[in-house]
């Protein structure tokens, strides 16, 4: 009889679902001043930009495209420089860049997370790899451009390689830090409860490092976009980085700003997506925070 009552109790007292938790957080956020301040910050910036460039035409700024001009170009069905929301080229650049970042980012994640976990788990492996990592990591991505072009056939592969490199080091380092952040007591507890090495890996190291891994993935996504644009500016034929550089050469300044804002929005969305996945996987962390 105790089993039956326990089972009912579980069903009734089960905590809120993750959707309920998310909705609760959203409602709380809308009730606070934060979203309105956020909006005000952005609007204020655009207004300042408008004042400097189009209204007052301050020296230094008068060569720059202003927000009204950029917006007009962006939503024009017949843009003067060939790039707007209505032209397929715009989307081709976006899709090309996103596709490159995705390939590089997933490659970096699928290689970087296991490498980082291994480095944290096996000291010998860390001894082999850590100094190497710490020497390669600070090399700026731009320094890799020549070798990357020499190493890979075609532009596509070298751009993806550059993007991958930027992403990879951040992922490895954060994963390693994640493993090292796990309190020794959880390893002792796991051993004491009879866990074998694979259990320690899957049930302690992996979930324990997850918060750091996801912080790392957000950073690595940022690096990926950074390296991508650098790569595309030098070797691209399509892509937002290429678009920016090409528009500069062709004196199509509003397009530069369109591409920049597009990069900003996509970059922001991509790290928001990572946060979302992270929260989904780490309900325990989310619930700890809303407490």
């Amino acid at each position: 009889m105790s089993t039956a009552s326990a089972a009912t109790a579980t069903r009734n007292d089960a905590g809120p679902s993750s959707l309920e938790v998310s909705l609760f957080c959203l409602r709380e956020w809308l009730k606070s001043a934060a979203p309105y301040l956020n909006l005000l910050g952005i609007v204020g910036f655009i207004f300042l930009w408008y004042l400097l460039t189009e209204k007052l035409k301050v020296p230094w700024f008068n060569k720059l495209p202003g927000p009204v001009g950029v917006y007009g170009e962006w939503v024009s069905p017949d843009p003067s420089y060939g790039i707007s929301l209505y032209t397929p080229e715009y989307y081709q650049h976006i899709v090309t860049s996103i596709w490159r970042v995705l390939q590089a980012f997933f490659l970096a994640t699928f290689l970087g997370v296991p490498v980082g976990l291994m480095m944290g788990w096996k000291k010998t492996f860390k001894d082999y790899t850590f100094p190497l990592l710490e020497t390669l990591r600070p090399i700026p991505m731009l320094a890799w451009v020549p070798l990357s072009i020499l190493m890979w056939p075609g532009r596509e592969a070298s751009i993806i390689f550059l993007t991958f490199l930027g992403s990879f080091f951040a992922t490895v380092l954060n994963t390693l830090l994640g493993v090292e952040s796990i309190d020794e007591v959880y390893f002792r507890a796991a051993h004491s409860l009879g866990a074998k090495p694979r259990h320690v890996f899957l049930k302690v190291i992996l979930p324990g490092a997850l918060p750091f891994i996801f912080t790392g993935l957000q950073i690595s996504m940022g690096f990926a976009w950074f390296s991508l644009v650098a790569g595309e500016m030098l070797a691209g034929e399509y892509g937002l980085g290429y678009l920016i550089w090409n528009s500069f050469i062709m004196v199509q300044y509003p397009v530069i700003v369109i591409a920049m804002v597009t990069l900003g929005v996509i970059g922001w969305l991509s790290s928001a997506l990572i946060r979302l996945v992270g929260n989904r996987l780490m309900q325990w962390k989310v619930r700890e925070e809303i407490r």
Partner: protein, 283 residues
Amino acid sequence: MNTAEALSVPAPRGQISIRNVSKVYDPEGARVLAVDNCSMEIAAGEFCVVVGPSGCGKTTLLNAIAGFHGITSGEILLDGKLLCGPGKTPPPGSDRIVVFQNGALFPWYSVLENVTFGPVVQGVMPEREARDRARELLSQMGLEGIESNYPSEISSGMRRRVEIARAMMTDPSVLLLDEPFRAMDALTKTVVHQFLLDVYDRSNKTIFFITHDLEEAIFLGSKVYIMTTRPARIKTVLDVDIPRPRDFRVLSSAKYIKLKKECIEAVHEEALKAFKAGEREMA
């Protein structure tokens, strides 16, 4: 109906012999004697409490039994078999479960997943059965309704009880508790004390309990070892012949007060020594 076998033990096991155990820590050649020639005979099913000033080396003894590190000389036997000697450190195992000072429930697992962790990793029963058993055990222990909560969502007193439930799930020979109620307020402590006493009365497991709290020691234990300040030696052994089951009323009984008086002086002397030696906390 068959109520959790984890709580009913047929043959008593978990007899521990600690014989002339010493432990020297040797970081960078500075030989620090942590435990000095300690001997204890702990009967199967005995509730043994070790009291001593913080940092006196009592945790060293517990860690040796748990298998977290070795000893320098002497030997520790579990049920007549050599567990630990110079050059022999047993791997930590589920026959000697540790409940840690600051708690070690996995924060990324729900209460139920924590409690089933032992049986699942040991592969002694399918996950489904482990879950059923865990629910049964939790409800027997008065912990129903929190199965799907994460440790961060329940109170510290609850967390400690869940941790004891997790330990009991693997049916250990010995339960090793390392100052488990250290950071708790007085009210929570009375609840978890009662809980531990209930668990002990029902399971009759050998319990090796470390604390610096003398009242806790006498209230819970059958035998109380009072340790000296570092290096840890046994100063006094106290038989606590207060009958079980015990509850909070024991705390105001004449016998309890008499026992407390008896050993308070012994402890005070050590506390003073420890204080003079620059230790931070007292028993």
